[in-house]
Amino acid sequence: MEKPQNKKTLSLGKSKWSYAPSPESTSHITIKPQYELFIDGKFIKPGSGKYFDTINPATEEKLSSIAEADEKDVDKAVKAARKAYDKTWSKLPAKERGKYIYRIARLLQERAREFSVIESMDGGKPIRESRDIDVPLAANHFFYYAGWADKLEYAFPNRKPQSLGVAGQIIPWNFPLLMAAWKIAPALATGNTVVLKPAETTSLTALKLAELIADSGLPDGVVNIVTGAGRTGAAIVNHPDIDKIAFTGSTDVGKLIQKAIAGTKKKATLELGGKAANIIFADAPIDQAVEGIVNGIFFNQGHVCCAGSRLFIEESAAGEVIRKLKDRLETLIVGDPLDKNTDIGAINSKQQLATINKYIEIGKKEGADFYQSSCSIPKKGYFCKPTLFLNASQSHRVVQEEIFGPVLTIQTFRTVDEVIEKANNIPYGLSAGVWTDKGSKIFNLTTKLRAGVVWANTYNKFDPASPFGGYKESGFGREGGLHGLMPYLKF
């Protein structure tokens, strides 16, 4: 390992010139004290009369009460979706379907600011990300799939694509609005109707989306949004009149879903966990690779299924990369998600923070070298400093298991074969990153890495036109792009 030649350090982070707080205003948004279920175009109370709290993870304060849907509520939603499918949506000319989806996209763009602020309040992600990534990308997904609605015969020539019927969709808490868009847009474009359940810690933007959908004039029952936790999700999965399950979330739940629908006619796409290798070769543009490491693991507090959580550095460059990475960590600002200068916001929930802390303890016990940025974190709320585990081993649990937080394990490698073997030696296969100046090396690796997405000299790049999905225990089926239409069609 190359040794740094001098010990003088840069003074970064706690500077004599620091940034004053610059919080995004919340005066323009409204959050109702209570939210109902969105079924058949109307907001209705849950049959059980039960509600649960949704809180702001940065302040631990309650934001609103959310209706809890039980089996009967889910049944109502599925019936509404079936009726809408039979009576209106499947009868509508494809061009008209496209118009509605375009309208949703435009409305979302118009209300982007409101959605990004609520997304950051309810989920803890920095406003910079919800404003610049989540919300615009969600709108782009609607725009993109609106375009396909009347062109399905051209997407699949000579194959007579037909819609499936009612899609049951269950989405996670890491990208609440964006995942709703990923699910709803292709389902509607292909002529299906939807029953969607957001995650219980982040229901607000999905319910705001329900309001927006109602405003758009979409026929009643085409999109239904039911809120709740695991039980509500199970009710969707087990409902006999659902034709298709689309799930994004943990591998454990994904396995349960597959068991539950075994033997039924339900089609499924599962987008599950990941533990991606981010591979840095010595000939890479090192300064940009360091940025790629940071974007790979600290984007959205590391709550990203395709996060580059396992870093592999070619041994001859390890000293330089680690020194630069540690310096870069000092400039990351952890804190109030609504502050425009925040780089890393709040951990989504108390439970998730406990999981992350549990893994940090495991990592320390396993003997990898623990390192955290010297930044300060707010006393209230759920926060975690950016964390590194240097000199980690392939057999460490922190290397093998998905942590879903701002925790990066670092290993070195010596040869290309070695790094391919280690990168693939994991139950997951969602994504990977390769950093090198040499094009041939990139193509060699992309053909050998068992991962659905491989980024070269960049990381965590998403586009509606680009398919996304995993190998192995990271799931199956693709979302986004032309491929994202297929799971919602029969031929």
Partner: protein, 303 residues
């Protein structure tokens, strides 16, 4: 104590990925600088300006007026710093030096057949010596871009080293003229050559070629300075010049500096803006922070 520094092979400088650089730059641009940190940043920017006039039509009168402005930016406001230096052609150094006596403001002179650098080594050395003999505190030289693009890196290196020697105690700023180097890989290589050859500062542009200073180019140069510091513990200064005309852009440059090199460089000892019209926009912003309303440009003297 002497530190022995091994020269790198300039044909094998680290590679730079342009897309990645542009993304990093975009992040600096989204930093939101408000209230007291804005005021502090603006004053810092003012104090880092090399107030510049480099025109064929420069006269003694023009230089005198510029020197007065340098020391009296906007006398109706209290607590303003002065600019760092006044930058002129060698023939005006003596005059500027006299005008700025006792102000603490440095006199910088361009030299070495500025701006093209198309001349003999002998002429360039004479040019430098003339400026220094007239009292220049700082010399802004240009590199031979023709030799650089031909791959004669040793020629470029030797020339800078020779000018550095001619500078004696004056600090040397080496202008890479990045607008003529075309790639960020070239910017990285030219920066390394200049630093190892003895530059006290590296500087983007003459201001005579478009594009002049850009943020991606400046970031690559700052990262070269950082890598040199990592290796040797020695600091090198940075001067983006040309095209930085608004306070908002200047603050973005300072954010980049703060997050790349850190505290030690946040002073005009190690960072400068080469600019002629930036000062007034910064003053206008400072006045706005003080009064809450913008004033017309006519309330700020133009020289």
């Amino acid at each position: 104590m002497k530190t022995i520094i091994t020269l790198p092979d300039f044909t094998k400088t680290p590679t730079v990925d342009q897309v990645g650089v542009e993304e990093r730059v975009a992040r600096f641009q989204t930093r939101s600088i408000k209230k007291e940190s804005k005021v502090q940043g603006l004053k810092l920017a003012l104090n880092m300006i090399d107030l510049t006039t480099l025109e064929g039509k420069d006269t003694e009168g023009k230089v005198k007026q510029l020197c007065y402005k340098a020391a009296h930016l906007h006398d109706v406001m209290q607590g303003l710093p002065t600019v760092a230096a006044v930058c002129v052609y060698p023939t005006f150094v003596k005059l500027a030096k006299k005008q700025l006596e006792g102000t603490g403001i440095k006199v910088a002179s361009v030299a070495t057949a500025f701006p093209s650098g198309q001349s003999t080594r002998k002429v360039k050395i004479e040019d430098t010596k003339f400026a220094v003999a007239n009292g220049a505190d700082e010399v802004d030289m240009v590199i031979s871009r023709n030799e650089f693009l031909e791959g004669n890196y040793n020629y470029v290196f030797d020339e800078i080293a020779a000018v550095k020697e001619a500078c004696a105690n004056a600090r040397l700023k080496v202008i890479l003229e990045t607008g003529e180097l075309s790639t960020l890989d070239n910017v990285r290589r030219a920066s390394e050559i200049a630093i190892y050859a003895g530059a006290d500062f590296i500087k983007t542009s003459t201001g005579k070629i478009a594009p002049a200073a850009t943020q991606p180019v400046t970031l690559v140069m700052l990262e070269t300075i950082r890598d040199y510091y990592y290796k040797t513990g020695k600091m090198v200064g940075m001067k983006p010049a040309g095209g930085i005309s608004t306070a908002k852009i200047a603050l973005q440059y300072l954010v980049m500096l703060r997050e790349t090199l850190g505290d030690a460089w946040l002073t005009n000892q190690w960072y400068r803006f080469g600019a002629s019209s930036l000062a007034n926009d910064v003053l206008m912003q400072l006045q706005k922070e003080q009064d809450g309303v913008y004033q017309s440009g006519d309330y700020f003297s133009r020289d």
